[in-house]
Every structure is written in structure tokens, then in C-alpha cells.
Symmetry: C2
DNA sequence: TGATTATGACTGACTAGTCAGTCATATATT
DNA sequence: AATATATGACTGACTAGTCAGTCATAATCA
């Protein structure tokens, strides 16, 4: 009755293609062809999963859809991840870490504190606000309570570091007389709040009322540092 | 085989209680006992649904759980709501509207603008931050993209109103010389941002680092209005 | 070098379970 | 009794996770 062993007719198209295209990229690793392709697939799965999770949230995302988007069979996902939950968790780590690294690398120890903060804001604007990464932040806010491990990770790797960095900058600004409000060092959140609001705004309300995040952040800095110091 | 018609032993406790307590509130309606009880049930369902949605998000929430928590059979839910989605949407409306009404009713047209804003902040602190209502805000942020109608409603009823109110206050503050930063009127978001951050913080990071929201808001107001005006 | 065997990445049909929504039946109200 | 409400067992659609089998590639052999 259930004799439908439809094993036949496997389309070997992708296979053949890959073989031809990706043989022996000996640029960076002794990586056998296999390992390379496996890494590529993992990356494809991570990308696809991020899109789907951002669009639908954790619970409503179907692994079938992730697989389809990644151009992979569902079973393949389970070669890289234990289950849906750990996939989500690893995904967040995978995507967040490089961003943090890039943002916390403050390159110019030159100029005024305001310039430093402005450079950071500009970076944040470009790297996060209005990008897929911004959506990821919203996703963490959304799913955090149901994924304590994700919230923990995010607090440890992003929030606490960002807060420490901001606090240091604020204290420097106070020491140099650029910032008047001494208590600000106790609440670096205030410095970051408008940037976070901008992230959320772009996800939720951009349709209703576009927000010029750059200009808003400038006004906010004026508030903290006093009116423009004319470079 | 499936003869477990366990119709027996229905616990009529809640039933009896409600019947006894709320009979004939002819204050507002020709409400028969029935209408009253129906309203109570609806309210119970809304409460239960809010708890569940906040705890699990829309997709992961089971109607069976809502029914159980509300002390009602699943079918009863469908006497009040068309389906899960419209229940969620109506729920948000039902819960949000009274809060907005309460918050936008600025009672004291006396004193300085700072006093006005402070009164508002204090209200917000008590009514929203760290409460179930705050969680609801986080839920809207979380589910908004998947429920455009909810996001629209929230923008129309809460965000745009709040922004307009804040803008008016800011302009008044500028006119009276209490606020220096003129451009602030273009971005009332800046005024509200720390309060929103506090809401999210309490949901996500309170465990890691408790936040004294009240004090933070005070510092923020100092930033905008200048140091304390000593009442 | 060319042939043979071993490996393990990959597949997708399948299982077991879940849950939104329905409706025949039971209960309460008038 | 007739009507309005409420119930919860049931159904069918849907999906996370599994696993026996396939096949390109790698390793070994002749």
C-alpha cells in the first residue's frame, strides 16, 4: 500500500553545478571541498533563518521555509543545529558578535569627546538602524523573555559592554568639561535611548512617519554637549 | 470506549459567586443578569489572554490555555471573538484605550512646564513601567510587524497623540525659556526615549541590573530643563 | 594512474504530536 | 417549553524532528 519508494528522479543539478564551481578553493584553508561546502551551507542556513525569524518570529517560523530559502533539505539543518531553539540561539550569537566587535572598536582617540560619540553614533546609524541588524535587535526584544539564554547573552555581550563604553566616554566628557550633567554617567542608557528608539521606530512606524534618525541623534547630542561646537 | 462523558462535577464555584455578586447592575444598561455575566466573562477572557500573550507571544499561545486561565470552555471564547487574530487585536485596543485616556488627561495646568512633564513621567512610571501594561508595550513592539493593524492602531492612538502632546509641552517650555534646545520640538521622541527604554529594560534586563527608572527620568529631565529648579 | 572501497553530507518521505476552530449536546434563563 | 448560552470532545491541517537510503568525494589499493 505504501509502496511509493519514489527514490527516483533526484535532480542532481545543484550538485553538478557546485562541483564544477567550487572545487579546490585552496586560498585560505587546507579545507577539502567538502568542508568548504558545508561551511557555505551553514552560512546559507543562518542567513535564511535570520530572514524568516525576523519576518515571522520564532514560533511562527517553519523550518521547511528556512530550508527552502537556504536551498537545502530540512534534514540538512539538523546536521548543523540540534533543534529549532538552539538554532535560534546560535544564530543570534553568530550575527551579533561581529557587529559588536566592529562597533566597540573605537578607532579615533583623537578630537573631542563629542567627536568620539558622534563617530560612534554615525557608525551605529550605518550598521544598525534601518538594517537587518536593527530588525534583529527588535527580534531580541521580542523573543528575549522566552529565551533567557539569548537575553543573557545579549546583556553580557552587547548591553553591558556598550554601557561601560558609554560611561567611560561620559566620564571623560565630564572631566573635560564638555558635559555638564554629572549624573549622566550613572545612566548611559540616556545616551543610547534615542538610538534604540530609532531602531524600533524604523521597524514599526517608518510607514506612518519616516524618522530622520541622523538628525534626531544630532539634536540629542546638542542636548548633552550644548549647541554645536562648530567642529 | 471513549465514553467518558465527564459532564459531572463541574465546579460551579465561580459561577455561583459571579451570579450572587453582580446581579442587576442596572446602572448603565437594562442589563439582565445575562448581559452582566457575559461582560464579566469577556473581561476574564481578555485578562487571561493578555497574560498568555505576554508570556508566550501570539503564535505560541494556546487558546486552550487562555480558556483554562479564564475559567471558561474554549468554545466560549468564540462567542466573544471571531478568531485568535481578532482576539489579539481587540485585546490590544481594549487594554490600551483606558491607559491612554488616563495618561493624556493632564490634570494640572498649573506650575512650570517641568512640573507638567514631571507629573506625566511620574504617572507613566506608576501606570506603565514595570507593570503588565509595560509588558504589553513590549508585546506590541514584538508582534507589531506581523500585525499591521495593531501597529497602525498603536501609532494612531498612542504614539501620534503622545508625540503631539509632548511637542506642545516642549514648545511651551521653549516659549517660556525653560528649554534651551529649540530643535527638541522636532523630536519629541527624545523626551520619551528613556521612558521607553525603561519599559524594555524592566522586561529584559531587570534580573541582571535593576534600573531605578524614576531616578533616570529625573536625570534626563535635568538634562533638558537644566539642573533642578528647586520646586 | 586508474579502479575499488569507505565516508559522511545530504535528502525528503514519514511519524508523532499539536492546536485552531467546529458543533452536537448540556445547562441556564425567560 | 422555548430560547439563549456554554461546553468540551472532536477533526483536520499543519509541523518539528527522524532516519533509511543516496551519491559525490576522499582514501586506499593494484
Amino acid at each position: 500500500m505504501t509502496d511509493k519508494p519514489t527514490k527516483v528522479a533526484r535532480p542532481p543539478a545543484a550538485r553538478a553545478l557546485a562541483k564544477g564551481a567550487a572545487s579546490q578553493t585552496r586560498d585560505e584553508a587546507p579545507a577539502s571541498n567538502r568542508a568548504t561546502r558545508a561551511a557555505e551551507r551553514r552560512a546559507a542556513i543562518v542567513d535564511a533563518a535570520m530572514e524568516e525569524f525576523i519576518a515571522r518570529g520564532f514560533a511562527a517560523t517553519r523550518l521547511d521555509d528556512i530550508a527552502k530559502r537556504a536551498g537545502v533539505a530540512k534534514g540538512t539543518i539538523y546536521l548543523h543545529f540540534n533543534d529549532k531553539e538552539s538554532m535560534f540561539e546560535e544564530l543570534v550569537r553568530t550575527v551579533i558578535v561581529p557587529v559588536v566587535t566592529r562597533l566597540t572598536t573605537l578607532p579615533p582617540p583623537t578630537g573631542s569627546v563629542r567627536d568620539l560619540v558622534e563617530a560612534f553614533a554615525s557608525n551605529f546609524l550605518k550598521e544598525v538602524i534601518g538594517t537587518r541588524r536593527g530588525d534583529l535587535v527588535r527580534l531580541i526584544v521580542a523573543e528575549g523573555p522566552r529565551f533567557p539564554s539569548v537575553a543573557d547573552f545579549y546583556y553580557r555581550e552587547v548591553v553591558s559592554r556598550g554601557m561601560a563604553g558609554m560611561r567611560a566616554l561620559i566620564e571623560l566628557g565630564i572631566a573635560r568639561g564638555e558635559i555638564r550633567e554629572k549624573d549622566l554617567a550613572r545612566y548611559p542608557q540616556i545616551l543610547i535611548a534615542p538610538a534604540m528608539i530609532a531602531v524600533i521606530w524604523q521597524s514599526l512606524f517608518a510607514r506612518h512617519a519616516p524618522l530622520d534618525a541622523q538628525d534626531m541623534l544630532r539634536v540629542h547630542l546638542d542636548l548633552i554637549f550644548g549647541e554645536r561646537s562648530t567642529t
